[in-house]
Symmetry: C2
Subunit: 276 residues, 2 copies
């Protein structure tokens, strides 16, 4: 089964999707977020798998907006820890490395590790692309900061693991497909949705009371500006419960009456957040 | 007056702060977000100025978390459009450029422009650092994608302007300082705050009803996970109105009774969002 993700082979998104779908999944690398959604809509890949938030950086705006705009539906979530590794060509040693390539954000997250060893940081497009380049050149003094998966994909050696300074670094992903799921969803503990509201006091309160009065908790709520209409607000929410549960179905119906538009992305089993 | 910002000289943050504080401000470049808040807390810079959300990327998690954690207070906001320019050493021409350096995200946002001209993209740490490097080398075939301000800071020529494909790209900034403001705040149209809630159904509804029952609208609401405690939720909100308005003061008092902690970042005149 082909699964679309954004990035190069070996990207953290690919590592996360292999964990979620299992080793039999065939990762299909896409250049950008739009291309990832295109691949799912066109049928070139069956499901897609994209990050929606990171514990440090916050929401991934471009992807949550695409869930709202495109005819796709979520059917699963996963939390994946970001554990940067120092990867070098076979035979290289930690003492021999002089230069380290990676995405600027990954290099910044490993700054104390790199500084303590006097390693020169060289920015690159992304972590996996840096690993591929380091493998291609094969110089023992050059390493990359990237996922452990990159070592396998590009035939590199792991010289050090977990080298980022912030240990609480994880990304949440949603698995999605081009058609609405039809399963009974007995194990669905979470529902992702978005809704737009007219810009007036109390509009959000009315929307949220549909959930609260039924004892349904929200695990995420986030407003996003609507580019084309500053007098409307868009909210992304995760509600705890499946969309087919009677109380959730009632809440969603009530929300539909209060909002200018509601899109239920889908229900799925809730994953456990790291640290929880 | 020294104003702390994150990035190199010429960064979009510096362009935005010069627009906000005026040309007399003395921008103080800091290496990272923590360092920017440190500079304000220690008194090395009087105010600070950091991005809190971008129209495409979403919230800037690291900065909103620092507003919650650090004893700083917001006293102004600004929206700044991200308009990428192609900058080259004096004498260079658009036809003569072969290579373009910038941050990977900026390069991606200008991909159609670069591809149409067959320009080779080279990733760098950040847009302003790429402009500095292009100026240092002075080669007419090498350009940078960066702010118009970088042309002035590094003595470069603007070969093309507004070269990003997505025109609706703007960043929202907050100006902050180390002590709570004491002004009357008659013109304060917006209040930024954060609050944490116990993880139970209806907790958010109770919190929000403090605003809605008084006709106070929210222009932003965003949940963030709390790393150390998965059974509590943190919310960032912008409420329309000043904290000294009687109805807002009542709402904040009511919120304090419902939340496990409330921090009012500050009130300030509301800026106009681009497109509004």
């Amino acid at each position: 089964m082909k699964v679309a993700f954004q990035g190069e082979r070996g990207a953290y998104s690919e590592a996360a999707l292999l964990e979620f779908f299992g080793a039999a999944a065939e990762p299909a690398a896409c250049a950008d977020s739009e291309g990832t959604f295109d691949a799912v809509e066109s049928g070139r890949a069956k499901p897609g798998f994209v990050p929606v938030e990171n514990s440090i950086a916050g929401s991934v705006g471009v992807n949550v907006d695409l869930f709202w705009d495109r005819p796709v539906f979520a059917f699963g979530e996963a939390y994946h820890p970001i554990r940067h590794c120092l990867l070098a060509p076979p035979g290289a040693t930690l003492d021999g490395v002089r230069t380290v390539r990676s995405h600027p954000v990954a290099l910044a997250q490993c700054r104390p590790f790199l500084a303590a060893r006097g390693l020169r940081a060289v920015p690159d497009y992304d972590t996996a692309g840096a690993a591929r380049e380091v493998a291609r050149r094969g110089a023992p003094e050059e390493a990359a900061v990237a996922s452990r998966l990159c070592a396998r994909v590009y035939g590199l050696t792991v010289l050090a693991e977990d080298i980022q300074s912030e240990k609480n670094n994880y990304t949440r992903f949603l698995a999605f497909r081009g058609e609405r799921g039809a399963g009974p969803g007995a194990g669905d503990g979470k529902t992702s949705l978005a809704f737009s509201l007219a810009d007036r006091p109390g509009a959000l309160l009315t929307a949220l009371s549909a959930f609260a009065r039924r004892g349904l908790n929200l695990s995420k709520l986030e407003s996003r500006p609507i580019a084309s209409n500053p007098f409307e607000y868009l909210f992304f929410a995760d509600a705890l419960g499946g969309a087919r549960d009677p109380s959730m179905a009632e809440a969603l119906a009530e929300l539909s009456a209060a909002a200018t538009r509601v899109k239920v992305f889908g229900s799925y089993p809730a994953a456990v957040r790291p640290g929880a």
